[in-house]
Symmetry: D2
Subunit: 286 residues, 4 copies
């Protein structure tokens, strides 16, 4: 029963005894540990990261107490931590422009039952993908964006997202640079798919530039959005081999395949609470 399951994510300075404290706590709460992953950097003073998935019968009823009782341990080790009940699905908004491949991939996997989340809305600066969204039973919000109205539109985006309690925003080929004012309220909650193997080809028209450079491999990168363009923490990357006889248009076509799978894996891991951000990088417990 997913009602019985939760994930605990922890980041803190590494010290002896953390794993013992956490696992003893969970044992005393009657938990069965389903999986436990841990990673410690050993540079500087050392950072400690942990993901524990556990089950407790009727967890959803006892959840507030369990959360509350963990606080002293968290405080002792000065942890940043989150406890996610599996039954409480994350609420997702997908932003798109005109290209549908990432959107369709996400919606298809969602409908197939592969994503444990509620996809709540599709937002776009164009009308093109309305039928795709509504065909999957989703509301479609169209906000045309110009240089002039962008601050106003982003304000309305934020209102809409807050009103619907959105937990994660996927920029699934939303061909707009979002401003710091939009990023701030959703810090570490906006995932973008970039159509290159970052840090190669930061910015616009990566396929044309890949073609110019004569690369033999093209890639895609899913990353959290930060104020610096295409420089946020990388969640996942993948590549596909190409050759001299691919035109820029064909690079783009095969690039769609790798973009689709990369954004889907990144979202999956985020939904499963496998991703921790630190130092502009990610730990991904697979």
């Amino acid at each position: 029963m997913s009602n019985d399951k939760a994930v605990l994510l922890i980041s803190c300075t590494d010290k002896p005894g953390i794993v013992a404290a956490v696992s003893t706590y969970l044992y005393e709460k009657g938990a069965n540990i389903i999986s436990s992953d841990q990673y410690s950097t050993n540079y500087q003073e050392g950072l400690f990261f942990m993901r524990v998935e556990f089950s407790i019968p009727n967890l959803d009823r006892h959840f507030p107490a369990i959360e509350e009782d963990f606080r002293p341990i968290a405080n002792k080790y000065e942890m940043k931590w989150n406890l996610f009940l599996n039954s409480k699905k994350k609420r997702v908004a997908i932003f798109v422009s005109k290209e549908d491949h990432c959107l369709v991939e996400l919606l298809w996997q969602w409908k197939a039952g592969d994503f444990e989340c509620d996809i709540v809305m599709v937002v776009s600066n164009h009308e093109d993908l309305r039928a795709t969204a509504t065909g999957f039973g989703l509301p479609f919000y169209h906000f045309p964006v110009t240089k002039e109205n962008k601050p106003e539109v982003e304000k309305r985006h934020i209102e809409l997202l807050k009103e619907h309690n959105i937990d994660v925003i996927v920029l699934a080929k939303y061909m707009q640079i979002v401003s710091p004012g939009f990023i701030e309220p959703f810090r570490n909650k906006i995932i973008n798919i970039h159509h290159s193997f970052l840090p190669a080809f930061v910015g616009a028209k990566p396929y044309d530039r890949a073609y110019e450079r004569g690369v033999k491999i093209i890639g895609a990168t899913a990353h959290f959005v930060t104020e610096e363009l295409d420089a946020g923490p990388i969640i996942e990357q993948d590549i596909i081999r190409v050759s001299h006889d691919y035109s820029a248009a064909e690079l783009k076509r095969v690039g769609r395949m790798v973009e689709r799978s990369v954004i889907a894996r990144a979202l999956q891991w985020y939904l499963q609470n496998r991703v921790i951000i630190f130092d502009n990088k990610t730990v991904v417990f697979k």
Copy 2:
């Protein structure tokens, strides 16, 4: 300091409290947990597997006590377990016939410092690779094998391996089927590289058969040797793409590349105590 580090490997029936018991024990011994991996099957009654890498100052001196004190916990949960001191290097024997690619790969990575082990000897049924072995400063034992003398030769192999306290035997293109009498004393300690993506092309001449079948991918499989040919627990597999214009000889040539990397990774993981065998499969904690 690797003198301070050890790895604990555990297999047992899954029960609540195991992680807490192990991590509390280690904490009380003054250990810092470097990494901890855990996996539970959830079929049947459930199996539990754990690998913990930890450090304790001056561990090598306290090792016997630490091992002894863990026994009651192990008994309580009916664990199969092993405690490996990182400073105690595994002793490796490599068996070869005429082809040198896997041998050279292993010796080169070893010399480059990538394998924490002592490669102690090279054993062969042919003279061909003597210079390669001795060039790396290793003794080379040549035992010609015929149908008639095979039982006698294997008896001498066993004596030689026991005499040198060999911990793991790598069949690095040793083109002989070893008998149950040889396997028994080195149960779960013999790693073979098979030149196909098992279970495709079990047995002899896999490249010729891959050519006949017109496959578009060829593979290699590293597995523990059991009495049933090419059917032991798989440690690692990998593949390489090929096309219609590869002859059987060319399949073999590119196959050497994938064989080399697969056997090297499998040995690496075994040496790092990342591999646990169960139900004719492996858990590999990477």
Copy 3:
């Protein structure tokens, strides 16, 4: 203009002068050769395969003459050959059962303009995917299949396919073994996706058997259907890495990803006349 383009596919016994004869013929017809691929086996007497893509202004008007005039050259070298006008799209029927992933992938790529073909119908032994087919504007034919009515149903399949001039049939997770009587009239025109890396796991339930065997990689294979189960000429294969913590259900889930991309590439190459069958294998000119 695709009206100006055609592909010539040739198989014959290798002899000097074939390339010269073909390219001189095309030159005299005013053709510009866009791409030319050739492959010769050098075993036995040697087979020769060639694919030439060329353009001739107003080709569709001159096509019959061009075809007719090539006949003497073809006869001289005893060629098996085909001339495909790019503007004459192949007509495709897709057979499915209950799983939608391959169907949706093919339809999405088709709608995205990646496949130059007419997908004409979806045929199924179940009702489940009717909405998917009709959502893409395609007729959906439902023929329930039982052991008893199978010969009768296949007769109706054949009639339907012939009536609509179907050029290629894709078994996109059609979980039925088709009989020789169905294969015969569509020899070399039925493409199946098999959910394993053939020849491993021929037959039913490959993911369960992959799970049992503890493989570290799972694959998918697109092949032409012949009378022997899962033994026809392989067009494309690919794999995805898995680990011990994938359940049989999860193997199946990730397997869907590789099945989708493999069947899509195989169909693409077939539509672009890149595939030639010989000796129960394929030449694929990429």
Copy 4:
């Protein structure tokens, strides 16, 4: 017999009739075409590239006449062209510094008979790899390089390479930036292995920078050396997946694996006359 085989490489402006002219010429010379590849760009005025491998009995004896007789055809189409007799092995010099992995890979594959070339010498700015070179029977030239003596050393390099009729120079982890004066006499004949997926991480310390950036994939790139650092035509690239728990040192260690295979494939293709340079890119006929 490789004495009977040759490869013809052609670049020119695309025009109808080139393939016919070339293949008819070869037919009249009694050649059997073993393989023929062709690629035309269709931007601007269109470039045409062709590689033909053919055999003619006793080719080495007739070679000068065959070359001479092709000249009128080449002139007619204003071709850049080269005719390479397979029996005339290319002469290779390998430049190294202290790291041996690329050198050992190349020498091992060469000794295994995979490279049809004469490796003639190893040149280094350090003494470290002398034993490796001489162990393979190769002369080892040590030229210490300082900022001051670099022009003088490069002059001596050039003399040495010319004296030994070197056809291709492989910078196999030669950690020096070569100057324009060195590049000029060996234009398009110097192949470098760069330890990143170019154009990401141009310049020094790519693994440290990959670690900083938190990439999930690292790569390697083999390219021709031009005056602009790491910006020459790319021949081959490949990648390997990594995760958050790789230190910069471990990225470097696994990076060695991908560097080895990339430089080996690039050299192989160059030796087989499969690589044509244009517009700071390469056509690679595989």
